[in-house]
Structures are given as C-alpha cells and as structure tokens.
C-alpha cells in the first residue's frame, strides 16, 4: 500500500530530490514549499500519516507545524520527521518538546533516510492496525450491549409471565368461591322472582301504589338478575383462559387419531354452529395417527372453530371448511372460514399473548398464543393467512406417528422466549 507522505522544504532542489527518492521508494508524495502550505495540508481533513518537514521555513517552522498537528485531538497519529542542519542540544530539546518523532540531518544520507522511513512506516502501520481493532471492539461492545438489553428484557418478561402463571393459578382458585356464590344466589333469586312479580302485580291495583315505579321494577329486576349472571359467566371464561397459563406439564403423550379430534371438536362446537354456520368436511375415512396429547389438539381445533364462528358473527350465514390430508410424513389440516379475513397488518401479531381484535369483554386474547404453543410442542407448525376468495385460513401441520411431544412439563408461553436455536 502506498503511504502518503508530506514533504516540506523551501529549498526547491532539495525538495525535488527528496520527492524523487521517496517516489522510488513507493510513497505517494505531497509537496509543500513553505510552512504555511505544509500546515494547511496537515490541518486539513485526512492528512497524510507521514511528514518530513524542514526546520526553517517561511510561514511556520517545522516544530511549529508539528506542535499544531499534535494539538489536534481529532486526528489519528501523524509521524513527523524533522530535517535539520542544526545539531545543538537546545534545538533538539525544542523540537522534541514540539512532538517531533525523529530527525534527519541535511544533507540526507540515503541509507539513513530509508532506515528512518522504514521505522516510520512500521509505526504508522502499527497505529493503523490498532485503530482498526478499536473500531472492531467498539462494534462488538455495541452488539453485546444490544444483546444484553434484549436478554434482560426477555428475562423480565419471563419472570412476569412466571408470576402471572402463579398468580393466575392462585387467582383462579380465589375467584371460584365468590363466583360460585354470586351465581348461586342469583339463580335462587331468579327462581323466587315470579312470586314477587305476582305480588307486585296485585299491588299495582292498590290505590297507593306508585304505578310507574312498580312497573319499572317488574320490568327491570329480571334483567338485573340475568345481567349479573352474564357477568359471572364472563368472569368464569376469563379465569379459564388464565388457567391455561398455569398449566403444569400433565401432557398425556400417546397416539391419537386427528380425524377423531376434529370430529370431537365439531361436536363440542355444535351449539355454536347449528344456526348460521355450514360445515364442509373433507376428512379421510382411515385414522390419521399423531403422537401427543389428543386433548390439547382437540382444544386447538375448538379454539380455531370458535374464532371462525366469532369472525362470521355479523354475517347472515357462513361456512367453515375443514380438510385433512397427509403427505411427506405430515398431517395437514386446513381450517377455512368465509368471514372478513385477517387484516394484513395484524397477521404477524395474532400469535402474541393478549392480542385480540374483539371488543372489551369478549375474548381474553390468550387463545392463539396457546394454540401456537401446543402445536409447536407437538413438533408441528401453524400458519394463518387469507384465502384469495376471502376469509381466513389456518394451516396446521403435525408430524405423523412417533416422536411428537419432546417437551412436556413446560409452561407454554415461557418457551417462546428461549433463544432460538442457531440454524445449521
């Protein structure tokens, strides 16, 4: 690599001679005929890393230029050699104090010049390497910091979820009791109400009765009771959703028939489906055997079917199509609906815990994150997308036969935070 070198001498013949010598040695030479020019070069952006300066020059002297270079803090190191005809001790100390690296006496001895330059080049190249290493180090540090921050956040998230898991379990149990007696009491009240209503009806004939008020109470009381019951029901559903976060690993690993799981799920969802939803099934007659927890997979299908029904709620009628095929050692389930589909911008987010597009009170947003976890625990994968003809499509793939669940005893959502395995 051709190093750039500045040579400054007001004696033109010396300058030309030196320039030729240095060019022959392979340097890229920049010349200056006086101190001012030399100073301008060294004070500019990206100056050469090597400089041979005459001592006495119009403008700035060599030592002055050197001192000015050393005063720059933004610069990488510049190796300065001073040309001098002088030899005295005082001058030497003066130049040294200015930060000069080396001296060459005039007239120049070729051998000395080459030797000194070789040293200079070694120093500069060493500096360059150091600078390179510093940059690398800075980058590595930056990467490490970013990674550390990411891990710290993951840890906090994991701890929060672990806490949530514990809380959820505790809360579920604690809420069961009040939930029970609220609903029980309301049901009893509902049973007793007809008698009260009858009494109120008769009371309305009484001259002192406030007709409007009595009418109001007769009208509203049943709604109040039913409203409370709806509330309790919703509490129960939320608690059930939360309970899935505190599931310990009671995964039952055994072979099961996916066709049967689908049929079971449809049967369980029958009530949801019977009025407005048509179901098109394309299922094989032979069993499709997968290893894992059949109950969990059934739960996955129930969740997806129920989501599809919710998506089509606003429509007068809708269709759910379910098909199951096997290929390449995999079972593949397609679950389509004729609803509005999933908006492009949320397609990636739907798997996040607590994500939901439902209005407040409807749905906890935990379903799909759990569904994804269950499928992954079975060494399978689930994708969501939209059909070209409209409506959403969920595709589930599960490996056939042996070797599905490898990780039981895990809290589903926590696994999502483990570092991804490096692709081989």
């Amino acid at each position: 690599m051709a190093h750039r070198i500045l040579i400054a001498d007001d004696d033109r013949s010396s300058l030309v001679l030196l320039e030729r010598t240095l060019a022959k040695l392979g340097f890229q030479v920049i010349t200056a005929t006086n101190g001012e020019e030399a100073d301008r070069v060294l004070q500019g952006n990206n100056p050469p890393r090597l400089a041979i300066l005459d001592w006495e020059m119009p403008g700035f002297t060599g030592p002055q230029i050197c001192r000015r270079v050393r005063n720059r803090t933004d610069l990488n190191y510049v190796y300065v050699i001073l040309l001098t005809a002088r030899e005295g001790q005082a001058e030497f100390e003066h130049a040294s104090a200015a930060g000069v690296d080396d001296f060459l006496t005039k007239p120049l001895n070729s051998a000395f010049l080459q030797h000194r330059l070789a040293v200079a080049v070694r120093v500069i190249e060493s500096e360059l390497q150091l600078e390179g290493k510093q940059l690398e180090l800075a980058q590595v540090i930056q990467n490490l910091e970013a990674l550390a921050e990411k891990r710290a956040m993951q840890l906090v998230h994991t701890e929060r979820l672990a806490t949530l898991g514990t809380l959820a379990a505790g809360v579920a149990h604690e809420i069961n009791n009040p939930s029970t007696f609220i609903s029980g009491n309301m049901k009893i009240l509902k049973e007793c109400w007809p008698l009260v209503d009858e009494a109120l009806t008769r009371f309305m004939d009484h001259p002192e009765a406030d007709q409007d008020r009595v009418g109001f109470i007769r009208e509203e009381a049943p709604k109040i009771i039913d409203g409370a019951l709806v509330g309790v029901d919703r509490i129960k559903n939320i608690i059930n959703g939360l309970k899935n976060y505190s599931r310990k690993g009671n995964d039952q690993v055994a072979p099961f028939n996916v066709v049967q799981s689908l049929e079971n799920a449809l049967a369980i969802c029958h009530n949801l489906l019977k009025y407005q939803i048509k179901v098109l099934k394309n299922l094989p007659t032979d069993p499709v055997v997968v290893q894992g927890d059949g109950q969990q997979i059934e739960q996955v299908f129930i969740n997806l079917i129920s989501n599809a029904v919710d998506a089509m709620q606003e429509q007068e009628a809708g269709t759910i199509s379910i098909s199951l095929t096997t290929e390449n050692g995999q079972a593949r389930v397609h679950l389509d609906d004729t609803g509005p589909g999933i908006p492009q911008q949320v397609l990636d987010e739907i798997w996040t815990p607590f994500f939901t597009t439902k209005e407040i009170g409807k749905g906890t947003g935990l379903g799909l994150s759990i569904v994804q976890r269950i499928i992954r625990n079975h060494e399978g994968e689930i994708e969501a997308g939209n059909r070209p003809e409209g409506g959403a499509r969920f595709i589930i793939r599960l490996p056939l036969g042996v070797g599905a669940i490898t990780r039981s005893n895990d809290i589903p959502v926590l696994k999502a935070l483990e570092p991804e395995a490096q692709p081989v």
């Binding site: 149990h173 029970t180 007696f181 609903s183 029980g184 009491n185 049901k187 309790v232 009671n250």
Partner: protein, 145 residues
C-alpha cells in the same frame, strides 16, 4: 314424613348461606358448619341425611371429614364440592367413598340439586329395606323430594 336434613360444610360463610338458601327453598332442613371438626360435633348431636362439604378447610379438611363420616355414619351420603379442579381431588373423593365431587364454580345448582335428590333416593331405598326387615312401617321414613 319428616323433611330431610342436609349439612353444609364450607369455610366460606357466603357459600354456606347461598347453599342454605337454595336447599331451604326446596324444602330441606339445613345445618351449617365451618370446618370438619364443627361438622362432626354437629353430626354427633343432630340427625343428618346428606352432607355437602368443601375439600379445602382449616382444622380438618373435607377429605378427612369424608373418611370420618364413612367410618362413623355409614348411612350418610357425602357430596364433595371444591374449587381445586384436579384429577387427584376427584380420585381421592371417589376412593374415600364420596357420592360425587362437584367443581366450583357451579354453572348452576342443578347438578348439586340432582345429586342431593339421588342421595336421598338411595337413602330411602335402604330405609325401606331395613325397616321392612325390622318390621316397621314404611311411612316412617324421610320425605324425598
């Protein structure tokens, strides 16, 4: 015919009150206890036909109570209720001889009412047999709704 008597055992007062209300509305006598020890003390004094008990209680748990009742009062049927929905709980109840185990929250009280009905029916069948063997009249049994 006398009214049947139920004993409701639960450490939470609101649950006891709610269940008491429900069964009194259906024409039963209802006794209440806050834990297993209280329940046993009550059983020693009063005649009870069916016990409805929670599992998790201080001093004496529902399962211990169940065991004690099976030993000391074989004619009393026990219906367990619990908020802890686990397989172990259900199995324990079954092994210890409970009539059934019902999980909270109750969707409605139908299952519980039905189980009480079944318990009393069972009781009536045995009473009829035993009284026939002892030569007593059938009418002196307990009213079963």
């Amino acid at each position: 015919m006398k009214k049947a008597t139920l004993l409701i055992v639960d450490d939470e007062v609101e649950i006891r009150e709610m269940l008491s209300r429900n069964f009194r509305m259906r024409g039963f006598n209802v006794e209440l206890a806050g834990n297993g020890t209280e329940a046993l003390a009550l059983l020693a004094e009063k005649r009870v036909d069916v016990v409805i008990s929670d599992i998790m209680m201080p001093e004496m748990s529902g399962t211990e109570l169940l065991r004690a009742i099976r030993q000391q009062y074989p004619m009393i049927r026990v219906i367990m209720i619990t908020g802890y929905v686990t397989l172990e709980n259900a199995l324990t109840c079954m092994r210890l001889g409970a009539q059934t185990c019902i999980f909270k929250p109750f969707d409605d009280l139908d299952e519980l009412n039905e189980e009480v009905g079944l318990a009393l029916k069972w009781l009536r069948i045995w009473q009829v047999k035993l009284r026939a063997l002892r030569g007593m009249k059938i009418e002196e049994g307990v009213e079963v709704k």
